[in-house]
């Protein structure tokens, strides 16, 4: 009786527009109660669900070019929900929802084996090495819709699932079951000052994400827009985060190619 409507929520990030300002990271941290410590400069220990990578074209001055690439969780669908991380979790603490296409992480179920972190090629999964501590008074801005995590568990971007829940609440109250595109938007999408992030249902041809990338669902959601690409397309993770760039070198940075291979293999 469910399954009547399935969504595949996804994101398109326009790297031409992205300025690398970091507002998405902060909006994410604020929405999702991500803690912070005195020194967060070691990025291998820092909790940032959304992380911005700096890409460069590897050329010397003055041909050098850089591009910022924000990386949330890709919410891989893999081969029918077999995301790299979901299938490996021994305690069923992470799951793939057919209803939304979102990869969840249940902090209270996770016991911290970190296998999923090893499985994720995007490094989108992060571990709570420390107990979260908010300086006196700062716990006041914590969002009640997302539970603060304790030490020793893995966490990651949830596409602000709490916002989906709240949007559904409102829809139910108004006698609806389906959400409008603007009713459910992630925190980073909403905050992006450049409007570089677009979020919506990839299954719904009326949603902007679908129109922007024109996903080829017969081939694992591969984008048909020539400017669109996904990171590590060849691994078969089938991520739901797409990137747009008008620059060839940026698009090529999204995946590994062997020298002399020329172009990405089409299949």
């Amino acid at each position: 009786m469910k399954g009547a409507t399935t969504h595949r929520y996804g994101m398109v990030i326009d790297l031409d527009k992205c300025t690398g300002c970091g507002a998405c990271m902060i909006a994410c941290m604020a929405e999702n109660n991500v803690p912070f410590r005195d020194d967060e400069s070691d990025k291998l220990l820092s909790l940032t669900w959304m992380r911005i990578f700096r890409l460069n074209n590897g050329k010397p001055f003055p041909e050098a070019d850089v591009c910022y690439l924000p990386r949330p969780c890709m919410h891989c669908e893999g081969d029918h929900g077999h995301s790299p991380c979901v299938s490996v979790c021994p305690a069923t603490a992470t799951d793939y929802s057919r209803e939304t296409g979102i990869v969840s992480q249940i902090y209270t179920r996770c016991f911290g084996c970190r296998y999923c972190m090893g499985a994720c090629p995007y490094k989108a999964r992060l571990f709570n090495w420390w107990d979260p501590v908010w300086p006196d008074g700062m716990e006041k801005f914590l969002n009640p819709d997302v539970s603060p995590r304790v030490r020793g568990v893995v966490e990651k971007c949830s596409f602000c699932y709490n916002r989906y829940q709240l949007a559904k609440n409102k829809a139910f109250l108004e006698g609806r079951r389906e959400l409008e595109e603007n009713e459910y938007q992630t925190s980073c999408t909403q905050a992006c000052p450049a409007g570089a992030i677009v979020f919506g249902d990839l299954n719904n041809p009326h949603h902007q994400v679908h129109q922007l990338v024109d996903p080829d669902m017969a081939h694992g959601g591969r984008p048909r827009n020539p400017n669109a690409f996904r990171i590590l397309e060849r691994l078969g993770t089938n991520p739901k985060v797409y990137y747009l760039s008008s620059r060839e070198w940026v698009r090529r940075s999204g995946d590994n190619t062997i020298e002399g291979e020329g172009k990405l293999k089409s299949h």
Partner: protein
């Protein structure tokens, strides 16, 4: 025999070997003691585990003052929803705030000492009442009231009694019991230490949610089946192999039930 054994353990084997001369009778009475003590241990630990342990595990607090639901229910028009309403954004307001009560209780209206406590200690001092909420789920749980009561939701309209029992008809507030280790209300984790629940409101653990959801889903999928035989066979399959029929599948690829995020946050 026990003496022999003790010696055997402590003296060199060569010496002990020569001393194997314990009377049979003594050995038998020793076995009797051994069996007796086994049962003493068994029963004592059963008493500890079943009777003493629950008393130690749970503690109780009383509410700041007593509240009569029955009286209030008579005075309002829209039943529970008069005070426990939905906000415009679909969220559930839960226990009323001072602002709601103030409409009627700005001054002491009646004789009830509880009302007097309320008005003098809270209304006049503008302090919210620190009610202890029996049905409060831990922080990791997201529960959508509206999804359960609205006619359009997936699980059809339930009334409050289905989950909360006849709390709305009560005249006093029972003590609030909670688990000393987890700090969670006993209404969530079960009044029966063995985990049995007679009523849906005796326990509200994840498995209880799952049970009800599975029933709702199965019932819904069965409604479409016309022939009694088909329905019978399907029933058996559902009971024996829940979640196997496509119609009964939930959104989770891991459990074929509802995905974890639906209730966890």
């Amino acid at each position: 025999m026990s003496t022999t054994e003790e010696h055997a353990n402590e003296v060199p084997a060569e010496i002990a070997d020569k001393k194997e001369t314990t009377p049979e009778t003594k050995k038998e009475s020793a076995i009797g003691y051994v069996i007796l003590f086994f049962f003493v241990g068994l029963i004592a630990s059963l008493i500890v585990g079943w009777i003493i342990f629950p008393r130690l595990l749970y503690s109780q607090k009383s509410q700041p003052f007593d509240f009569n639901h029955a009286v209030h229910l008579d005075l309002v028009d829209e039943g529970c929803q008069s005070c426990h309403y939905f906000r415009e954004d679909g969220s559930f307001s839960g226990v009323p705030k001072l602002a709601q009560c103030i409409d009627c209780h700005e001054e002491v209206n009646g004789e009830d000492p509880n009302e007097e406590i309320f008005v003098t200690e809270y209304v006049w001092k503008e302090r919210e009442v620190p009610w202890l909420i029996y049905s409060k789920q831990p922080d990791c749980v997201f529960f959508s009231h509206v999804a359960h009561v609205s006619e359009d939701s997936l699980y059809d309209g339930k009334d409050c009694v289905t989950c909360h029992g006849y709390h709305g008809e009560s005249e006093t507030l029972r003590p609030y019991q909670y688990n000393r280790i987890t700090n969670i209300s006993r209404d969530i984790w079960g009044h029966n230490i063995a985990g049995f629940a007679r009523n849906s409101w005796d326990r509200a653990k994840m498995d209880d949610c799952a049970k009800c959801h599975a029933e709702a889903r199965d019932a819904a999928s069965r409604r479409n089946l016309k022939a009694p035989t088909t329905r019978f066979i399907t029933n058996i399959i559902d009971v024996a192999f829940p979640g196997t029929r496509p119609a009964g599948k939930g959104s989770s690829v891991q459990t074929e039930r509802g995905a974890c995020f639906e209730c966890h946050k």
